[in-house]
């Protein structure tokens, strides 16, 4: 499903942000990626989204070898992956419904299917009643739910989340994580980057710990380790 083979990524200046990382994630897994700020977690996500290309090594996702992927293939590859960021990245001038429908329009879904899929996704994230609200009329937790609805409405096989609860209080954070677990239970592979020690310990999933671009721990049903 996700396979990194001795992957390194250097930016123009400084140490490599990701160094010689090998990683395998199976279909249907739930993985936390933890580590201090600057340890290379976001860079890893960007490599998986093919926003960045690795300096060394081979990245294979959903059967696509990202290193040799043609530009024209990238959009089709990305349709198999949902993304959630810390800053919610909703379109401020569109309603909740339109923000989710947006993802379907982008991939050319027919109007008939959009009318069926969008309410379904909103129901899953618990926002069916707020489909006419604008983002600014929602709480942070609700906004993040809209982003999640947008990320899953195209039914990706992988969901990537970079610090999805970074701006949320503990209660909302927990609920968002429950939602990821629910999505994972429906068969989607989920990879969540987070700082939140308590959450990671509460959920008892596989935990990958990074430090200075290197994977230092990779434990099943692990906890958040500092060293």
């Amino acid at each position: 499903m996700i396979d990194l083979d001795r992957v390194s990524k250097s930016y123009e200046r400084g140490q490599p942000a990701v160094r010689d990382v090998s990683l395998h994630v199976n279909k249907g897994e739930f993985v936390f990626v933890v580590g201090a700020s600057g340890s290379g977690k976001s860079t890893l996500i960007k490599l998986l989204l093919r926003e960045l290309e690795p300096t060394k090594g081979i990245v294979t996702v959903n059967g696509y070898v990202l290193n040799t992927m043609k530009r024209k293939t990238v959009p089709y590859y990305r349709r198999g992956i949902g993304v959630v960021f810390q800053d919610f990245q909703l379109l401020p001038d569109r309603t909740v419904y339109e923000n989710v429908a947006f993802a379907q329009h982008v991939v050319g879904t027919s109007g008939r299917l959009i009318k069926k899929n969008v309410p379904e996704a909103l129901r899953l994230v618990g926002l069916a009643g707020k489909y006419r609200s604008l983002p600014r009329q929602l709480s942070g937790g609700e906004q993040q739910r809209v982003v999640i609805a947008r990320a899953i409405v195209n039914r990706p096989s992988i969901l990537l989340a970079d610090e999805p609860t970074g701006n949320l209080d503990p209660k909302n954070s927990y609920e968002i994580m429950k939602l990821f677990e629910e999505i994972n239970n429906r068969g989607t592979t989920v990879l969540v980057v987070t700082h939140n020690r308590e959450l990671v310990n509460q959920f008892q999933k596989r935990v990958i710990t990074m430090r200075s671009g290197v994977i230092v721990h990779d434990e099943e049903e692990g906890g958040y380790t500092d060293d």
Partner: protein
């Protein structure tokens, strides 16, 4: 991808609306450009048609030496016909010339004409009227006829045609210059309008690409925006011109003192628009597309 295309048409129209000050400026410039193009085009079509009418009407008149024999005139006629540019030749006898003259100048006072009755004052005015295939060949034919023995004088009145043709070239040059300047301004404005739209939608574009929008899908709304601005900017002046045509062209032609006898053969608004409408719309569409393409290439590194 047809679903996505309809979506992008809506997005393109929304861009125009959200960004209406720029859009109006672009459409106005486009409209001014197409309007001026349309006016000059109509004028050119009219002047062209006048030139054609004059070409048909204007002939060469050939007069003969005094006391020349009928046989000789016949011979001259055949020699003239031998010229490849001559399409038609008509003989007018002195008597016919006199009758015609009387009709034209003494119609109201036949008694004046009677005073000449015994003696044709135009005794030596038998003539050939020669029609030439193209007005450009007139000079050659005149020289050819002047060399024929027994020809006294060759009159050719192509001055009007020459003037019109000069006027036509002048009109073409002026209109080309104005239209090209306006086109450049229109492209520039449309390009700016589209780039404002792109900047407003940067975040949206970024998200679209992460979700899996193809490059062409990202570009489409901006292509639509340019195309619609171009088309609307062309359609408005064409409609105005269509309904104002008779007044406008009448006024302009009047101003330039066009002879009334030519006015009857001028093209109709429908004949003009059968050509002008498609040219105008294609021009508008093309400018709109060029304008947005320039910006997309510069500001939308998808």
């Amino acid at each position: 991808m047809i679903n996505g295309f309809f979506y992008n048409i809506r997005q393109g129209l929304k861009n125009i609306w959200r960004n209406r000050m720029f859009s109006i400026a672009s459409i106005s410039t486009m409209a001014a450009c197409i309007f001026i193009f349309g006016v000059f085009f109509s004028l050119l079509m009219n002047v062209n048609s006048m030139v054609r009418t004059l070409e048909e009407e204007v002939g060469i008149t050939v007069l003969f030496d005094e006391g020349i024999s009928e046989e000789r005139i016949q011979k001259i006629g055949e020699t003239i016909k031998d010229n490849e540019h001559v399409i038609d030749i008509k003989y007018t006898s002195a008597e016919e010339a006199w009758e015609k003259f009387k009709k034209e100048y003494f119609a109201d006072h036949p008694e004046y004409a009677d005073s000449f009755s015994e003696d044709n004052p135009l005794a030596n005015s038998a003539s050939f009227t020669v029609h030439v295939d193209q007005v450009e060949n007139q000079a050659t034919v005149v020289t050819y006829i002047e060399r024929i023995k027994g020809v006294r004088q060759v009159n050719h009145s192509d001055q009007a045609v020459k003037t019109l043709m000069n006027f036509n070239s002048l009109l073409t040059v002026i209109s080309m210059v104005i239209v090209i300047i306006l086109l450049v301004i229109a492209i520039f404005l449309i390009s700016n309008t589209v780039s404002v739209g792109i900047n407003v939608r940067r975040q949206e574009i970024k998200i679209m690409k992460l979700i899996g929008a193809t490059d062409s899908f990202v570009r489409e709304p901006f292509v639509v925006e340019g195309a619609v601005i171009g088309l609307v900017g062309a359609l408005i002046p064409l409609l105005i011109l269509f309904f104002a045509y008779d007044k406008l062209i009448g006024m302009l032609l009047n101003h330039f003192g066009v002879l009334n006898n030519l006015a009857s053969s001028l093209p109709t608004v429908y004949q003009i628009f059968a050509v002008l409408l498609p040219i105008g719309l294609v021009l508008g569409l093309g400018i709109g597309l060029i304008g947005s393409a320039l910006t997309i290439r510069r500001h939308l590194k998808v």
